[in-house]
């Protein structure tokens, strides 16, 4: 049995999960070789939502290309924009005002909470529980409303620009965020009661989809998926950007390496994000929300790289500049792509139901993988 795993033999059941399938949350296509219910091989096929964002960026100016990146990992649009803005600022050596930095970090952390909320609901739905989805959306909607007020959009905000943020905060921002914090604290126990403490849920999650720390490093798995195996990979701690080095928060680590560990990392990460928001919400400094920049940005000739921590892991932005108004080449290192590559290794020899659970804990956003 064990030696059969990984080889396709005559009579194996090959099923196509996706590109249209409820479990893949998008147009991911998995070709799964099964022996009864046991998985022998998982082959992800990509490209169904490839929009050649990297190529498009080459013909857009340094101000414009940021907006296409909102469409990559649409659940953490702010953080994608943030990475690009940071990379351009690095090239131009723009000093970002402190107010803008604080606003950016606040928005990043709110985005992270919103993203994890949606993941939590979708994760439970993968396991067959429909109700948590609605409970998660109750809190997520509040964040979306805050975003709508300040940024003018609910999903693809396009709020970060080189030099700061596009507009100042809405006057209601602080009170609405505080309301959200109160709501969240009142409701967070429901998450544990409804899902985490459930015996069926724990049985489904514990011991499945195991990733050892070595696997995490060799597959390049980052974000909560990597930290679930005890590998410290939080960019906010290891390579601090903006004001993260001045903030009090913990890098959440679990050592079990299974689906439940990854689940717990995300839940606890939401608490840490709440902590960061609480530290900053009353201490937004006055001043400019945007640095004075030239109308046309020209990056000096050279190569620039900036990494940030999105809700899914490490996002890297690599810009090659020839000194013109548009980048010569742009490459994004997206967390979803590397995390997906570990899926086959994680699920071999496990049941079909475990595949869905493991895929859920990787929190894949397909446009982020394909770009």
């Amino acid at each position: 049995m064990v030696e059969e795993i990984g080889k396709t033999v005559e009579g194996d059941l090959v099923i196509n999960v996706g590109p249209q399938h409820p479990a893949t949350h998008g147009v991911l296509h998995l070709v799964i070789t099964l022996n009864g219910e046991t998985i022998k091989k998982v082959e992800p096929h990509l490209g169904y939502i490839h929009r050649s964002i990297e190529k498009m960026c080459e013909s857009l100016s340094y101000r414009q290309f940021i907006y296409t990146t909102s469409r990559m990992d649409y659940l953490s649009a702010h953080i994608n924009n943030h990475a690009c803005a940071l990379c351009v600022e690095k090239g131009l050596q723009i000093e970002v005002p402190e107010r803008a930095q604080v606003i950016r970090v606040l928005m990043d952390e709110l985005t992270r909470i919103a993203s994890h909320e949606l993941w939590w609901g979708a994760m439970a739905m993968d396991l067959g529980a429909f109700t948590p989805f609605f409970h998660a959306f109750r809190e997520r909607e509040t964040i979306n409303d805050i975003m709508e007020e300040t940024c003018g959009a609910r999903l693809t905000m396009n709020y970060m620009v080189p030099g700061g943020v596009m507009a100042d905060l809405h006057p209601n921002f602080q009170s609405r965020v505080k309301n959200f914090l109160q709501l969240y604290k009142r409701k967070i126990h429901e998450y544990d009661e409804l899902v985490t403490g459930n015996i069926i849920f724990q049985n489904r999650m514990k011991g499945v989809g195991y990733l050892s720390p070595e696997d995490v490093i060799s597959y390049g798995v980052t974000g909560p998926a990597g930290r679930g195996s005890g590998v410290s990979c939080d960019v906010r701690k290891l390579y601090p950007y903006e004001i993260y080095s001045k903030l009090q928060f913990d890098e959440v680590l679990e050592t079990a390496g299974d689906s439940f560990a990854r689940y717990m990392v995300r839940l606890r990460e939401m608490q840490q994000s709440i902590r960061i928001v609480e530290q900053l919400i009353d201490n937004i400094p006055d001043g400019e929300y945007q640095a004075k920049t030239k109308a046309v940005l020209k990056l000096p000739k050279g190569e620039f790289y900036q990494r940030v921590e999105t809700a899914r892991g490490e996002l890297g932005v690599y810009i090659v500049s020839e000194g013109g108004t548009t980048p010569y080449r742009i490459k994004f290192r997206s967390p979803g792509f590397s995390n997906l590559s570990a899926l086959d290794h994680m699920t071999r020899g496990e049941k079909l139901g475990d595949l869905v659970a493991s895929m859920g804990t990787l929190d894949l956003v397909i446009p982020d993988i394909d770009r």
Binding site: I15, P22, E37, L127, F130, F134, L352
Partner: protein, 358 residues
């Protein structure tokens, strides 16, 4: 006191007076057939809207609220839509079996309705082996599901049908054993006799702890039997898209859907009959005045009240729990429920022999 028995007697007397005996019997069959189909359709509509409303209530949303007052005609509109839709048969499917399967599942659900007593003296067929009949007929429905999965020529359907087969065959044992423990107490397999034996109180109260254990096991096992979440592996939406009925559309799909809800009604009706006294009002032994007051509530209200309470319980499970994995599902049955219910049956036999029950 209002009783449905008087109506049935009236109808029978009138038929026998007006027509020769053979024709009267024929008309009785026709009336029962029409009533059964009407009940079937009516229950389907009511249960679907109930499920959607219960789900909405649990999930902090409104649910259907556009068609009719508070969306009460939504399932009627859905039925019209399903009837109008084309019943597609895939090219690679085994056409005969593919089209036969929904009717088998449907027929089984209708046949099982026969021995259930809906009210005092109001049942289609008071057979003296009622419980045996129910468990024998209801196990045929797994054949319909396997047939649907196999004939669809779809891998998802096949996986769903395999799961369903393993699941329903296993959980049948627990259902059987927990039902047996009540039969040990009553000494009769007839559903009417079982109801009458609860004159002084329902078995769940009279039967001590073993009755409560077997009630809990019964509820778990029938949830699995009817392929409901958290045991809905046969259709596991996030894994197998729709499981064994992936390829079905239109009214053929609706028959599976309807059969699922009728099966829920049936198992809950059986549960209510065995453990909660069926149409028997809430009686406490020797409290004559209290019992008399309780008798004023019509017996069919008691029956439907209890049944719908159990149905609500099963719907509550569905919207709360995540789904089990296939091996955990079988472990639960063979390693926990089956040994417990076997031991429980022995305990119940002891209780029954020693006369420790009330």
């Amino acid at each position: 006191m209002f009783s449905l028995e008087s109506i049935t007697t009236l109808v029978q007397d009138w038929l026998n007076k007006t027509f020769p005996p053979n024709l009267a019997l024929f008309f009785e069959f026709v009336i029962i057939g029409v009533l059964a189909i009407a009940l079937f359709a009516g229950l389907g509509l009511v249960l679907v809207i109930m499920e959607r409303k219960v789900a909405a209530w649990i999930q902090i949303r409104l649910g259907p609220n556009r068609v009719g007052p508070k969306g009460m005609f939504q399932s009627l509109a859905d039925t019209v839509k399903l009837i109008m839709k084309e019943g597609l048969t895939p090219d690679g499917a085994d056409k005969f079996l593919f089209n036969l399967a929904p009717y088998i599942v449907m027929m089984v659900a209708m046949l099982v309705l026969a021995p259930i007593g809906f009210a005092k003296g109001f049942h289609i067929w008071d057979i003296n082996i009622g419980v045996l009949y129910v468990s024998a007929i209801s196990s045929v429905s797994v054949i319909g599901i396997l047939m649907a999965g196999w004939a669809s020529n779809n891998k998802y359907s096949l996986l769903g049908a395999m799961r369903s087969g393993a699941q329903m065959v296993s959980y049948e044992l627990s259902v059987g054993l927990s039902v047996l423990s009540i039969i040990v107490l009553t000494g009769s397999l007839g559903l009417n006799d079982i109801v009458l034996s609860q004159q002084d109180g329902w078995w769940i109260f009279k039967g001590h702890i073993p009755a409560i254990i077997s009630f809990v096991i019964f509820i778990i096992a029938v949830t699995a039997e009817t392929n409901r979440a958290p045991f809905d592996l046969a259709e596991a939406e996030s894994e197998l898209t729709a499981g064994f009925h992936t390829e079905y559309s239109g009214m053929k799909f609706a028959l599976f859907f309807l059969a699922e809800y009728i099966n829920i009604f049936i198992v809950c009706a059986i549960g209510a009959t065995l453990f909660l006294g069926g149409w028997m009002p809430f009686h406490i032994g020797h409290w004559e005045a209290f019992n008399h007051v309780m008798d004023y509530i019509p017996s069919f209200l008691w029956f439907f009240g209890k049944t719908f309470f159990l149905i609500f319980l099963i719907m509550w499970f569905r919207w709360t729990f995540p789904r089990l994995r296939v091996d955990q599902l079988l472990n639960l049955e063979w390693k926990y429920l089956l040994p417990i219910s076997m031991f429980n049956l022995i305990l119940m036999t002891l209780v029954s022999i020693k006369g420790w029950h009330f």
